[in-house]
């Protein structure tokens, strides 16, 4: 193994609805931004990892065929909603192994025209056959937490309130209007206790991340160290129930690899596809004691200006919108921007250690398709 891996460039398109837009122009826009941010040229790129969920086989080759990146090694990565950070994990591994000096991660998704309502997990599943959809899955997690720990619907609503308030300061977010607890609880029930404003919105968008070796990061004062990159896949829910052990296992491995602990993290972007997921994340990532996540949030933790860590300063999936292939790149974009001190009105003061958590799940029989945790330091 060689030296460290660094993120030297990030690029992100607005997450919105882009009727008529294809993956290629969105992806190229993000790539150009990321390479410019890294002060690198297309010719410097050794390998490209392209993350996407719904556009079908060979997307990376298809969207890069008409660009100067054609001819580079291209690897397509699909790991449900964790595809983007899964691609970053591959880039990290290639750079650490000395197989590449400059690895480009591209995450892209166009949902417009594919889903009118919620995204649908794979149909051939025991739980889907019982009538489960994705909000119902998170509702079952939420109710379990409520019964076990006394968490209330208001706690879940507070996640939406916080993240929409954060998203209001993010020009790339799709939902920038603040909401109140009353608004969230009064919005249409989807699968109780989850209401409409506790569900992330579908969006189209792309993000790109440049991962480089020590040699290529040297002298770059804006480089952020990719200190740990870890992934796990879950076991069958029938046996493990609702404790979500994989997040704990993967984050523990990531903390160890980075030489930090949960108490050292200043800022985190975590997977809040549905509001209850964020409260579970506080606990499994070690930010809160078991069962205390909702109560810690109620006491003012996790919000900008409050006791840290600040969680989802970008607005998270709930405010930023969720193009699955691009979400991981968006999380890394936000943490890199925060650690560089370039986040403007949503800057977390003194942020030097950041974390991303992405959860991919479209095989509901399993706890998770892929749980990906990155730790970044500066």
């Amino acid at each position: 193994m060689s030296g460290a891996a660094w993120i030297t460039g990030v690029g992100l398109t607005p997450f919105t609805r882009e009727p008529g837009s294809g993956e290629a122009p969105l992806a190229w826009s993000a790539v150009r931004a990321a390479l410019a941010d890294a002060a690198l040229e297309v010719a410097d790129v050794d390998v490209v990892f392209v993350a996407n969920v719904f556009a079908g086989p060979g997307l990376g080759q298809r969207i890069l065929a008409q660009t100067p990146l054609a001819g580079r090694p291209i690897v397509n990565v699909e790991n449900a909603c964790a595809s983007g950070t899964g691609a970053a994990l591959e880039a990290h591994a290639w750079v650490k192994a000395g197989m590449a000096d400059v690895a480009l991660v591209v995450g892209v998704e166009v949902l417009t025209g594919r889903f009118d309502g919620g995204m649908i997990p794979v149909g051939d599943d025991l739980y889907v056959a019982q009538g489960m959809n994705l909000p119902a899955l998170y509702a079952l997690k939420a109710r379990h937490h409520m019964e076990r720990h006394g968490t209330r619907p208001e706690h879940f609503a507070l996640v939406s309130v916080k993240n929409r308030a954060h998203g209001a300061a993010n020009p790339l977010a799709s939902s920038r209007e603040p909401v109140s607890v009353e608004d969230v609880l009064a919005s249409r029930s989807i699968a109780d206790p989850i209401t409409l404003l506790q569900c992330c919105r579908n969006a189209d968008g792309a993000g790109a991340v440049v991962v480089t070796s020590d040699a290529r990061a040297r002298g770059n004062r804006r480089a952020v160290r990719l200190a740990a990159s870890r992934l796990g896949s879950g076991r069958r829910r029938a046996e493990i129930g609702w404790d979500e052990p994989t997040i704990g296992d993967v984050s523990a491995a990531a903390y160890e690899a980075a030489g930090v602990g949960p108490g050292d993290v200043h800022v985190a972007e975590v997977h809040d596809s549905f509001a209850p997921a964020e409260i579970l994340a506080y606990e499994r990532l070690g930010f809160s004691d078991d069962g205390a996540g909702g109560f810690d949030l109620e006491r003012g933790r996790f919000r900008l200006g409050g006791p840290g860590p600040v969680v989802n300063p970008s607005g998270g999936l709930l405010a930023r919108g969720h193009p699955p292939g691009a979400t991981g790149a968006a999380q890394l974009f936000e943490i890199v921007t925060q650690l560089r001190g370039e986040a403007g009105p949503r800057q977390v003061d003194g942020a030097r250690v950041g974390l991303t958590l992405t959860l991919g799940g479209n095989v509901p029989q399993l706890e998770t398709n892929a749980c990906c945790v990155h730790v970044l330091t500066r």
């Binding site: 056959a129 019982q130 959809n133 079952l140 019964e147 029938a238």
Partner: protein, 121 residues
């Protein structure tokens, strides 16, 4: 597929039990997920305890809202997801329920029913 108000009859639940380690599975179980050995079919009376539930309001077009529950099958170390043959009023953690299995389209259908109907009121 869902929410159409069927009224399945109670009967034994088919489980798959590992011939080696004894771990049991619902519906999927040609290979034991714990030790990789083969499984044999066994039946259980379907007694279970409810641990979570939700009323699914965002349903497919034309499908009425329905209640999904998660129950732990007694003595099997096994969680089961099924649709409730009852509304959600009175449901609580620990409620004794019966798992009912019917044939489905590919996967079996699993249903949950309060064991003592009065207990759910």
């Amino acid at each position: 597929m869902t929410g159409e108000g069927q009224a399945p009859a109670a009967g034994p639940v088919r489980l798959f039990e590992c011939v080696d380690c004894g771990r049991t599975y619902v519906a999927v179980g040609a290979v034991c997920a714990l030790c990789g050995r083969s499984t044999k079919e066994v039946t259980a009376d379907g007694r279970a305890r409810l641990t979570s539930w939700t009323t699914v309001s965002a349903t497919a077009p034309g499908v009425e809202p329905y209640v999904l529950g998660w129950a732990e099958v007694d003595d099997a170390g096994l969680g089961v997801m099924g649709q409730f043959i009852a509304d959600a009023s009175g449901l609580r953690a620990g409620l004794a329920v019966r798992v009912i299995q019917t044939a489905g389209d590919g996967w079996p259908r699993l249903w949950l029913e309060p064991l003592d109907a009065d207990a759910a009121r």
